[in-house]
């Protein structure tokens, strides 16, 4: 995520487009980090993440358009709404065994999508929420693309710092203990449900915040933003970048947000190249791209 003027100098005439890709990269990187708290650190394959992203996005979009809430209040509401939804859904789904957890959370994601699609009076359904205002923070209007780039970068920094703090030291160790060996974690005095819920709801809250930024950036929000294809994108970023690794996820986010765009120069071969690259990574670096860097480091 280079500085905008460096990018602009390197690609004259393409500044707006490149900045747009960088904003998307920042948003996807933050979203993937929040997802990895659940998948990579407590080892629960939840498929509910698009729902939390969507709940945050719709909360912010509707509060801004219908209730004319200021951006910061809407963002806070989005974070809280998504976090609260995770607490509600988390208690029943974490009683399920591993595989049923994936199905249970997938069910929740689909129900959320269907509700948003069909509750036309409230969400406008397929008509989409339109003319969402660009954000304004303490009187400072974020209307230009570079300004939004900085806002995204700041949001990413917050997500990354939070991710680091949660996944290292004593909290991280407790998460990893639950992931590695649940009965033994209990013998160590850890309540697995509590730590799973912690990762799940904090991850969801961050996803809600990213959803709010996404809605305010695009100014239009449609139900198809929160379908299963978002889960697939996130899983590709996580598993090809490197589950459980900040660096790996950033690499994954840069590659899989920027790459499809860069490949537009060769429209015919675009998907062929993209697919071949996915295959190559899976074969050469099955633990994710991050492992390629780690292997060089001394053991």
């Amino acid at each position: 995520m280079g500085l905008p003027w460096i990018v602009a100098a390197a690609f004259p005439g393409q500044q707006r487009y490149l900045l747009h890709i960088l904003v998307f990269t920042g948003l996807f990187a933050s979203l993937a980090l929040s997802y990895d708290l659940v998948v990579g650190h407590v080892g629960s394959l939840s498929l509910a993440h698009p729902a939390f992203f969507g709940i945050g996005a719709y909360a912010a979009a509707l509060l801004a358009t219908e209730a004319k809430w200021p951006f910061v209040a809407g963002l806070a509401a989005a974070v809280l709404a998504a976090g609260a939804a995770a607490l509600l859904i988390g208690v029943p789904v974490f009683r399920l065994a591993e595989h049923s957890l994936a199905i249970g959370t997938l069910g929740f994601a689909m129900v959320t999508h269907i509700v948003i699609l069909n509750w036309v009076d409230f969400t406008r359904g397929p008509l989409c929420v339109t003319s969402i205002p660009r954000p304004s923070i303490a009187g400072l209007a974020i209307t230009t693309l570079p300004a939004y780039y900085w806002l995204t970068l700041a949001a990413f920094a917050v997500a990354a710092v939070l991710y680091r703090a949660l996944t290292t030291f004593r909290l991280g160790r407790a998460f990893h203990a639950v992931r590695d060996n649940e009965p033994l974690a209990q013998a160590a005095g850890i309540n697995p449900l509590k730590y799973r819920m912690m990762a799940f709801s904090i991850g969801a809250a961050v996803a809600g915040g990213v959803g709010a930024l996404y809605a305010h950036y695009l100014t239009v929000l449609c139900p198809e933003e929160l379908t299963i294809s978002l889960t697939v994108t996130l899983l590709v970023i996580l598993f090809l970048g490197g589950v459980g690794s900040l660096r790996g996820i950033v690499i994954g986010a840069v590659l899989f947000t920027a790459l499809p765009e860069v490949l537009r120069v060769a429209p015919t071969w675009r998907l062929v190249i993209y697919g071949s690259l996915l295959l190559a990574i899976v074969i050469r670096a099955p633990e994710g791209l991050d492992a390629l860097f780690r292997r060089r480091a001394p053991r």
Binding site: A165, L166, F169, R170, L171, R173, A174, H176, A177, R179, D180, N181, P183, L184, A185, Q186, A187, A188, G189, I190, N191, P192, M198
Partner: protein, 251 residues
């Protein structure tokens, strides 16, 4: 007042009574062994005591307080440590972290303190690392502290699991077959460790199949057969008890 007092504990699995009205009291500082043929309910009893299995009837009291039905993490924090029959470590944590994680839950529960690494917590962490290193040195794993625990050999993992259980300094330690499937040198090492713990005043309940170990170190032996307590006494008395001989060898 006994440190651990079990009254008429019963556990059934689909009609099979795995633990049948077993009563057992363990005094502070005792070293008691639980023996019995395979399938006699020893591990089931262990799992009921430590909260991994809900019991169907009976009560468990620890330090005089009723703890029947308490979940495993609560039992751990109350001061009951345990090891597992099948060797159990956190494979992706380092050897050192495997020990640290066993102490931290007993110390601090503030989420924000942990998130921002409060100075108090950092001091506790430094002390915990020191304690972990001395335990690793004790079991001979000092050189391996930075290695993922999953890379250790079977015997080393067994020693690591044992050291981890000691990390929070539990008052009562339940050891599930510490001498199973390890070489004779390590069996002697384990025996020495258990004796040392006992000498330090720890209360120990041991499940073990190796009779040499059991007879050698136990003060008292409790024998289970088909879920029932059939005998209880000193190693000498158990050795001569006809019911015990019958349970092991048949009539």
């Amino acid at each position: 007042m006994a440190l651990l007092e079990i009254r008429a504990l019963t556990k059934r699995f689909l009609g099979v009574t795995a633990v049948d009205a077993v009563s057992l009291a363990i005094e502070r500082g005792e070293l008691v062994s639980l023996i019995g043929p395979n399938g006699s309910g020893k591990t089931t009893l262990f799992n009921c005591i430590t909260g991994y299995l809900p019991s169907d009837a009976g009560t468990i009291a620890f330090r005089g307080a009723d703890v029947t039905g308490a979940p495993p993490h609560r039992m751990s924090r109350l001061g009951i440590g345990r090891t597992f029959q099948l060797v159990s470590v956190f494979p992706r944590l380092t050897v050192l972290e495997n020990l640290l994680v066993f102490l931290q839950q007993h110390q601090e529960e503030s989420f924000f303190g942990r998130l921002v690494r409060s100075p108090r917590l950092r001091r506790l962490e430094t002390a915990a690392v020191e304690r972990a290193r001395s335990l690793l040195a004790l079991v001979g794993l000092g050189e391996r502290e930075g290695m993922p625990a999953g890379n250790l050999s079977y015997g080393q993992r067994k020693l690591l699991a044992f050291a981890a259980a000691l990390m929070p300094d539990p008052e009562l330690i339940l050891l599930d077959e510490p001498a199973a499937a390890v070489n004779p040198t390590m069996i002697n090492q384990m025996k020495d460790h258990i004796r040392m713990l006992h000498a330090q005043g720890k209360t120990i309940l041991l499940v073990e199949h190796n009779m040499e170990v059991v007879m050698d170190i136990s003060q008292r032996i409790v024998v289970l057969d088909h879920g029932q307590k059939i005998a209880e006494g000193t190693p000498e008395a158990i050795r001569r008890n006809p019911d015990v001989i019958e349970a092991y060898f048949g009539r």
